[in-house]
């Protein structure tokens, strides 16, 4: 999503004209650490999916995966995983 310059905002003010576009606002760049799942250990118990405060753990019907567009890197998933399948790795540029 291209962010507007101030001149484009004079006309509207803080108003969003299209509905349902919050998904376009990616908030994952707050992250310092990224969770990574080791699928050889994962039992698909869904704890990480349940506990993620940002609903950034997704389930594709088969396995869990992290949506890095929204994951804030809080580490809750890694702490809750009963088999220690998730490690927090420092985000690289």
């Amino acid at each position: 999503m291209k962010l507007p310059g101030w001149k484009e905002l004079v006309e509207t003010g803080p108003i969003i004209k299209e509905a349902g576009n919050a998904t376009e606002y990616k908030t994952g760049d707050w992250r310092t650490f990224r969770p990574e799942i080791d699928y050889s250990k994962c039992t698909t118990c869904m704890f990480c999916w349940l506990f993620c405060p940002d609903s950034a753990v997704k389930f594709d019907g088969n396995k869990v995966y992290i949506d890095y567009d929204y994951c804030k890197g809080c580490g809750v998933c890694a702490a809750e995983c009963p088999v220690k399948a998730i490690t927090m790795k420092e985000e690289q540029k």
């Binding site: 507007p4 001149k7 905002l9 004079v10 003010g13 803080p14 969003i16 004209k17 509905a19």
Partner: protein, 395 residues
């Protein structure tokens, strides 16, 4: 075409209520507070008697009053309210939301001191507390101006290029409770002048759904604030245009400042609101004696009409700036800071002397203002200002 209106004798607050009645806003949400109580009291009487079709929302606090105004305005209604002092202070948080969401709410403020100690009388501390909230601030010298400014406020606020809330101030008890002669506009003229309000965005427009006031973090908040700042700066020419149109209708022309004998004046006093009436008497008297004195009245304080002010003051020798609010910890009041920093870049500029006066309704008399002009002459001889002076304070 200039129309001659009927004349009545009326108090400032009642004139404000009467103007609001003639506007007949869609929604008024208000909580009464001294010295602006009568505005709400009178207006609710109009509502009860069926003289307006306004939806009146009697809330339990000023914070709620402004919240309800914001909600109604976001829904697309023409909205007004009224407050003063602590009430305005209690609205503080919501004032920012109203202006940032670009909602054209009109609010009358009977300017009054802030506690402590408790004081119900007039000064500008409340308005100056709300100074940075992004509202347009217009100050009225007398009862006629309260009435006239309210109609102009709706036009300015609702102008498609402005869409910002407007505060119409007048001095608590001094103007709010004094009875003066008021030249009326007929209801039809008011209707024609303010026109029908067609909001650009409305939450009730179900065919064009919108979200108002969403989250904007470090990646976009700044841009929104700059856009908002641009909108208020940009309202200056519109305020002038509306003031001229109002003049064409009534013969009473309004500009963002009022120059009174400033063109050739060596000594100028700058003030806002009712004090300008007092100063004008002194200027008349001294002019008769051949003294080159003048008065600069600041009618619009936000956006600050810097260019006009610079133009009016640049050739003076000494300027006394009269602030009616207390800024503990600073060396002068807000009006002084605004004017002096705005003129700092000029090579040739007057010497400026800061005054604070009239706190908590303390009288400012013609004698005081004569004293100020005397002092400005002394300052010219000394070549430098004296530091902040309090007018009429016991030592």
């Amino acid at each position: 075409m200039k129309v001659k209106g009927r004349k009545i004798a009326i108090e400032g607050n009642e004139a404000a209520a009467l103007a609001l009645k003639q506007v007949n806003p869609d929604v008024v949400a208000a909580y009464p507070i001294t010295p602006s109580t009568e505005v709400v009291q009178k207006f609710s009487e109009y509502v009860a008697n069926g003289e307006v079709t306004t939806e009146f929302v009697p809330v339990e606090s000023e914070h709620s009053a402004m919240s309800a105004c914001i909600g109604a305005s976001a829904a697309g209604a023409r909205v007004a309210t009224s407050t003063a002092s602590q009430g305005l202070a209690l609205m503080w948080e919501m004032l920012y939301i109203a202006s940032s969401m670009r909602l054209p709410i009109v609010m009358t403020v009977a300017n009054r001191a802030l506690s402590a100690p408790i004081n119900i009388h007039g000064d500008h501390s409340d308005a100056m507390g709300a100074r940075d909230a992004g509202w347009i601030q217009i100050f009225s010298e007398n009862v006629q101006e309260i009435y006239d400014n309210i109609f102009q406020a709706f036009r300015i606020a609702e102008h498609p290029d402005v869409r910002l809330p407007v505060m119409v101030g007048y001095d608590g008890f001094i103007t709010s409770h004094s009875e003066e002669i008021l030249e009326l506009l007929e209801d039809e003229e008011v209707k024609r002048f303010i026109g029908e309000y067609k909001p650009k965005f409305s939450l009730l427009d179900i065919n064009n759904p919108i979200t108002m006031g969403p989250l904007a973090l470090f990646d976009s908040y700044f841009e929104f604030k700059v856009a908002q700042a641009y909108a208020i700066e940009n309202s200056l020419p519109i305020i002038k245009k509306v003031g001229k149109e109002f003049g064409d209708l009534t013969g009473r022309y309004y500009d963002v400042i009022e120059k009174y004998y400033t063109d050739d004046a060596d000594y100028i006093v700058v003030a806002m609101s009712s004090t300008c009436g007092t100063a004008r008497v002194v200027v008349d008297e001294l002019r008769e004696k051949g003294e080159k004195v003048g008065l600069l009245k600041i009618r619009v304080f936000r956006p600050f009409p810097l260019e006009d002010v610079v133009d009016a003051l640049k050739n003076a020798k000494v300027v006394g700036v009269l602030d009616r609010s207390m800024v503990p910890g600073s060396f002068a009041g807000p009006l002084y800071h605004e004017i002096t920093s705005g003129m700092y870049h000029l090579e040739k500029r007057p010497v400026f002397q800061p005054y604070v006066y009239g706190l908590g309704g303390r009288d400012i008399t013609t004698e005081h203002i004569k004293g100020v002009f005397e002092e400005l002459k002394e300052i010219e001889k000394a070549g430098k200002p004296k530091g902040l002076k309090y007018i009429g304070v016991r030592e």
